[in-house]
């Protein structure tokens, strides 16, 4: 069982990211996936969490994830709060950012493995969201699928196309670019 916790902010599409991943895992047809959003009183900009369990066996536990194997961080400003709480030692943190962020975060949180993909830049290039708040969820989905080996790129792109309400081509392209960027980051890290 792989347990992933997503951290984003209201309006960034964090919940949709977890749903897209569940869809893609089903489409791949090899594993089970349960995506659990954590809802409060939804407000744009407020911290939002979602959880995904991925397993080869049926998933029984329908609870929050307290000791995740991995984190997906859509909004790097969230490191100001204790978002690494409970992360297993040696766990992977896939973050929206660049190599300089990896260096800084590794120094601040020793013992965890940070991988960064430039989801912010990809979303800006593809005009997803606004310049001040780009929508990075589809890019982060692409990166997560590559990093955690959740599904093929083709399965993911089909799910992104079906799930997004607008700008299907740009969102599919964001997922593809981030998937490829994540693969390069993985190669460089290995």
């Amino acid at each position: 069982m792989l347990e992933i916790r997503f951290h984003g902010r209201g309006g960034q599409g964090t919940v949709l990211a977890a749903k897209i991943i569940a869809d893609a895992v089903l489409r791949q047809g090899e594993k089970q996936c349960l995506a659990i959003p954590e809802f409060g009183v939804e407000r744009r900009g407020a911290p939002v969490m979602a959880y995904a369990r991925v397993s080869e066996k049926p998933i029984l536990a329908r609870t929050k994830i307290y000791a995740p194997d991995a984190l997906v961080v859509l909004d790097p400003t969230l490191y100001a709060s204790d978002i690494l709480k409970g992360l297993k030692p040696g766990g992977t943190v896939l973050t929206n950012g660049g190599p300089e962020d990896v260096a800084r975060l590794t120094k601040r949180f020793p013992g965890q493995k940070f991988l960064a993909v430039p989801a912010h830049a990809i979303a800006l290039e593809l005009k997803l969201g606004s310049a001040s708040s780009p929508i990075v969820n589809t890019a982060m989905c692409g990166a997560a699928c590559a990093v955690f080996g959740l599904c093929s790129l083709a399965a993911l792109l089909e799910c992104v196309r079906e799930a997004v309400p607008v700008k299907a081509d740009a969102n599919v392209e964001a997922a593809r670019r981030a998937f490829e960027a994540a693969r390069e980051v993985l190669l460089a890290a290995s």
Binding site: A18, D23, L26, C33, L34, I36, F39, V41, L60, R62
Partner: protein, 384 residues
């Protein structure tokens, strides 16, 4: 065909496949998505029946009362205060013997405000005459909507399909969606013996003298008793057609277990993981999930229990001054069965997480307890 659906979307797809003729709704968190999904299907021409947006939950149930009396298959969804606001008409609908199917997405009642799951909303409608079934997966939500129409239309009683707010309603997982042809072969159209018909005018619900009132209530009691059999029979038939069988109870690894978790709703799924973890430690744990709450599966429970058994009842609900509601009902159903002890645990109110670890702790505490020291209810929570 498998699709990733939330619990709310699974409910809406169930209503669609059941060829619901009249759906009426009023939004409330966390049930609103059911109507968003129906409205979207309707706008694409994919929803067969009428959809009416009412001005309150009280009006929702009044409109369904009329539509069902006219012979239509009817559906709605609500939660918490919405359900409470319907209360008066829930009694009316059950007394009028109208087989309306309603989703209740469990949510706590105020004060103070709370949006998260808690069974006290549905359980406080216990005495209205509605059947109640609690679901543990999104698949079971879809399947139970289909089965509920069949059972409700057989015994002519309304049916509430209950799912956990957010834990099921907003969580996504693969759901096997049957084809329309498969559902049609399982669920024939609703054809009531009596209905509102201008060509054959009759009176409904007029003043009744005590003798007739008692007799009508007694018929209702007989039909509730028949519903216990109907749930089993329809659940088996569903299994033959779709490969997923259902009954009033769902026992997991209970055959050699003496201490058994008794759960309902999505907790019934998490409890399976807790039982697996306890079994790995060499402990003889089991989980008994109650699907049916009304009719209460008293006969099935009496057949299930054995002398020496300890039942650890997990209640995500609370009746002030008495304790957890499932625990109380279980004690009443089993009385005076000697040698079976019922241990009530109240937890997870207002959406508190009922975790694998907490369920193991409850099981271990009950396994260690002696029957002489049973409190009315033990309050526990996961410290995280």
């Amino acid at each position: 065909m498998k699709k990733v659906l939330s619990g709310n979307h699974a409910a809406a797809v169930g209503a669609q496949l059941a060829r619901t003729q009249v759906s009426v709704g009023y939004p409330i968190t966390p049930a609103t998505q059911v109507f968003e999904a129906i409205a979207e299907m309707k706008s694409k021409g994919e929803f067969p029946g009428e959809f009416i947006a009412a001005e309150s939950e009280h009006s929702v149930m009044a409109a369904l009362l009329g539509a069902s009396t006219a012979g239509a298959r009817t559906f709605t969804a609500t939660s918490s205060h919405g359900l409470a606001y319907m209360h008066e008409l829930l009694h009316w609908v059950a007394g009028a013997r109208l087989p309306i199917v309603m989703i209740d997405v469990n949510r706590a009642l105020a004060a103070p405000w709370n949006l998260w799951t808690d069974q006290t909303d549905s359980l406080s409608q216990r005495d209205t005459g509605w059947m109640q079934t609690y679901c543990s997966t999104n698949q079971e939500v879809l399947d139970t909507v289909l089965m509920s129409f069949k059972i409700a239309e057989r015994v002519m009683l309304p049916s509430m399909v209950v799912l956990d707010g957010f834990t099921l309603s907003h969580s996504y997982e693969p759901v096997d969606v049957p084809s329309q042809a498969e559902v049609d072969s399982f669920l024939p159209p609703f054809r009531p013996e009596l209905k509102l018909d201008p060509d054959q005018p009759i009176t409904f619900g007029s003043l009744t003298q005590p003798k007739d009132y008692l007799r009508l209530r007694r018929r209702m009691a007989a039909d509730m008793a028949e519903a216990e059999d109907a749930i089993e029979e329809v659940g088996r038939e569903f299994g033959e057609l779709f490969g997923r069988s259902y009954g009033q109870l769902d026992a997991y690894r209970c055959s050699d277990a003496e201490t058994i978790l008794v759960t309902s709703g999505a907790v019934g799924s998490t409890a399976r993981a807790a039982v697996d973890a306890l079994r790995e430690k060499g402990l003889k744990a089991g989980n008994l999930r109650l699907r049916a709450f009304r009719p209460f599966p008293a006969k099935a429970l009496r057949a299930f229990v054995k002398p020496g058994m300890k039942l650890a009842v997990v209640d995500r609900n609370y009746s002030p001054g008495m304790g957890g509601i499932f625990a109380q009902e279980l004690k009443a159903a089993l009385y005076p069965r000697p040698g079976v002890s019922v241990h009530g645990y109240v937890t997870g109110l207002g959406g508190g997480d009922i975790t694998v670890e907490l369920l193991q702790e409850i099981w271990e505490r009950v396994d260690d307890a002696t029957p002489s020291e049973i409190p009315a209810a033990t309050w526990v929570e996961d410290a995280r």
